[in-house]
């Protein structure tokens, strides 16, 4: 059992790592991430990439919804902006991927600021509806602005490239997506050690009190929108490079709901929760697919029931977590950790 957790300075309190053990475990985790593509088969690799993209986008939404308390139903729309930016740039300029991804993020952030503008006057659920309106407009633009977005047919793009390398296979994409995901989660972690991040949290807890404390609400709310949609834009750009085709239907409203669900199932206002939630929500459908494949020899009808089952499980997960485990997977994780830390005592 580990004791003596008293912190004596602000630096110690704000430190990312509070013990050597933590560093060790994290190092081990990074090593596994690094070795994973060499050991995994193509299907697992594909899943790894999907989870990486989902982690980036979920972390972005977590900044906005979990840490700043602004509900957004526009995440998929912002991802679409990023994806279309990457697709258009790679078709028309041939820039290497780090530049296009950065521009995708900035473009999405600009759109995010525009969508966030009403957030000073419009609050809570009215804001959620405003972001919903934004995603309807974005979908409309994706579908109708044919000279840029290719209309309903969408755009298909070349694989990502840099210094003569092309990132065509899932194996190569893994080495773009996963390091970027780790980097961006780390960046988010650091944001919450600064004044900006603390301002976000103050706004979430009570925006009027935050304003009285001298926090410029409009500025920080817009900053939160910009940061969140930057993450979404980068995730969308990766999505474009990964699937190499972008259509208006790639980013439906259900995708925005998926990311909200990932934030909630993982644990709102908890970066670890965002990661766990993104991985969990991405992997549940895949697990169900495997289960269906395993059941098909015995029940030939199984594939027919898979898609409805998926809807039911998706909904039941959201409802179940909110009612029984409102702090999400992160809380379960902490409980497990506490068990080992306090062993042989309980609680």
């Amino acid at each position: 059992m580990r004791i003596g957790d008293a912190k004596q300075s602000y630096e110690a309190d704000e430190a990312i790592w509070t013990s050597g053990t933590q560093k060790l475990w994290f190092g081990l985790f990074l090593l596994i991430l690094l070795l994973f593509p060499f050991l995994a088969d193509s299907y697992l690799l594909y899943l790894g990439c999907l989870v990486g993209i989902a982690v980036i986008s979920t972390t972005g939404l977590n900044i906005l919804t979990g840490f700043t308390g602004l509900i957004s139903l526009g995440q998929a729309g912002f991802m679409g902006v990023g994806a279309y930016t990457v697709a258009w740039l790679s078709l028309n300029t041939g820039l290497p991927f780090p530049v296009t991804l950065l521009l995708a993020g900035l473009m999405a952030a600009a759109v995010g600021i525009l969508v966030g503008l009403p957030s000073l006057r419009v609050k809570g659920l009215y804001l959620a509806i405003a972001t919903l309106a934004a995603s309807v407009f974005l979908h409309f633009i994706f579908a109708e602005w044919e000279s840029v977005t290719g209309g309903m047919g969408g755009l298909s793009l070349e694989p990502a490239h840099l210094f003569g390398w092309t990132f065509q296979s899932d194996f190569m994409m893994y080495f773009i997506i996963v390091p970027l995901a780790v980097l961006m989660v780390f960046a988010a972690r650091n944001v919450f050690r600064t004044r900006i991040g603390r301002a976000f949290i103050a706004i979430r807890d009570r925006d009027i009190s935050a304003e009285i404390l001298g926090i410029n609400l409009l500025r920080y709310k817009l900053m939160s929108f910009a940061l969140s949609s930057f993450y979404a834009g980068v995730a969308g750009g990766l999505f474009a490079y990964f699937f190499r085709v972008v259509t208006p239907e790639s980013f439906p409203l259900s995708m925005s709901i998926f990311y909200l669900a990932a934030v909630i199932v993982g644990g709102m206002g908890n970066l670890l929760g965002g990661i766990l939630g993104a991985a969990f929500m991405t992997l549940v459908p895949e697990a169900l697919k495997l289960l269906t494949a395993a059941l098909t020899p015995f029940y030939p009808d199984a594939p027919v029931f898979m898609s409805p089952m998926l809807e039911i499980i998706f909904g039941a997960l959201i409802v179940g977590f909110l009612i029984f485990e409102p702090h999400g997977l992160a809380e379960i994780w902490h409980r497990i950790r506490r068990f080992f830390r306090l062993w042989p005592f309980r609680n």
């Binding site: 009403p118 959620a128 959201i318």
Partner: protein
């Protein structure tokens, strides 16, 4: 400009708007009493419409028996949802409660696909078929009679909430929960009844809308149009729901007819965005004063 065509389109739109007003009324009843934004209202409509399909198509009951059965089924569903999934969320943040209703919507879509498959279905027609003319303007009979039935329920509701004991209890709870509670109003029962009555309105509208436009598990998307209606009208305003319902229904149909189907949603959401910027609480909603 062809005024006859415009008149006919407008008439169809207004009739559709009447049904929107009915759904929005169901939405507003639930919101007023329980402060829950019900994203699952489109799916409750869908479920009731599928029940009608099962009673009238599958069991071959007369439509006039199947319709009340389906509506009762839909309102019971609302009551059960409130008891089992919304009640435990009392006092939680609005984000969480909204997400619960989104989860419920997903569960209902899955259930419907499970039982009735994902294929689009046609409801057995039960409304009179002879064309309706109002002056020189033709109106599709399904829409016309759907509107009449919907309007009848709407008027019953308005009278009920104005004059009956239950209606007074609901309005009292809406304006001050604690005071209502201390006056001996059974607030829990009011919550439950609000969901039952709200779902009843939605269920009837669901069957009527599905009778004109067909039914599929994507039917719940109509919930988005209703969301626009209630936000434009103001979440807690019955008058707002009626006016905005008729207006949005008209606008959607006219935009669809003149600009093309893909403009229906952007047109109504544009109105929504403008209203949100000018009047963040909707046209007739209560501007709540926040205190720390």
């Amino acid at each position: 400009m062809d005024w006859l065509f415009f008149g006919e389109i407008s008439l169809a739109g207004l009739a559709m708007g009447g049904l929107y007003a009915l759904i929005a009324l169901g939405f507003v009843i639930i919101y007023k009493a329980t402060r829950v934004i019900n994203f699952a209202i489109g799916e409750i409509m869908m479920f009731a419409a599928y029940l009608f399909l099962a009673f009238a198509g599958g069991m071959e009951l007369s439509a006039w028996i199947a319709l009340p059965l389906a509506v009762i089924g839909g309102s019971l569903l609302g009551g059960v949802i409130e008891k089992t999934m919304i009640r435990p969320m009392l006092g939680e943040s609005p984000i969480s409660v909204v997400m619960v209703t989104i989860g419920i919507a997903s569960i209902l879509v899955g259930l419907v696909e499970f039982i009735w498959t994902a294929n689009p279905q046609l409801l057995p027609s039960f409304l009179p078929r002879e064309p309706v003319f109002i002056g020189p303007l033709y109106l599709a009979p399904k829409i016309a009679y759907g509107f009449l039935i919907g309007a009848a329920l709407l008027i019953i509701y308005l009278l009920y909430f104005r004059f009956s004991r239950g209606g007074v209890a609901l309005r009292a709870t809406a304006s001050d929960q604690a005071a209502a509670y201390s006056m001996g109003i059974n607030v829990r029962r009011v919550f439950n009844m609000a969901w039952v009555f709200g779902s009843l309105a939605a269920s009837l509208a669901g069957v009527l809308v599905a009778a004109t436009g067909g039914l599929s598990p994507q039917f719940g998307i109509i919930g988005l149009s209703v969301l626009v209606v209630v936000i434009v009208g103001g979440l807690d305003s019955i008058l707002g729901a009626l006016i905005a319902g008729v207006f949005i229904g008209w606008l959607e149909t006219v935009a669809g007819a003149y600009l093309g189907g893909e403009y229906r949603m952007p047109a109504t959401f544009l109105v929504l965005a403008v209203i949100l910027v000018i009047r963040p609480y909707g046209l007739f909603g209560t501007h709540e004063i926040e205190r720390v």
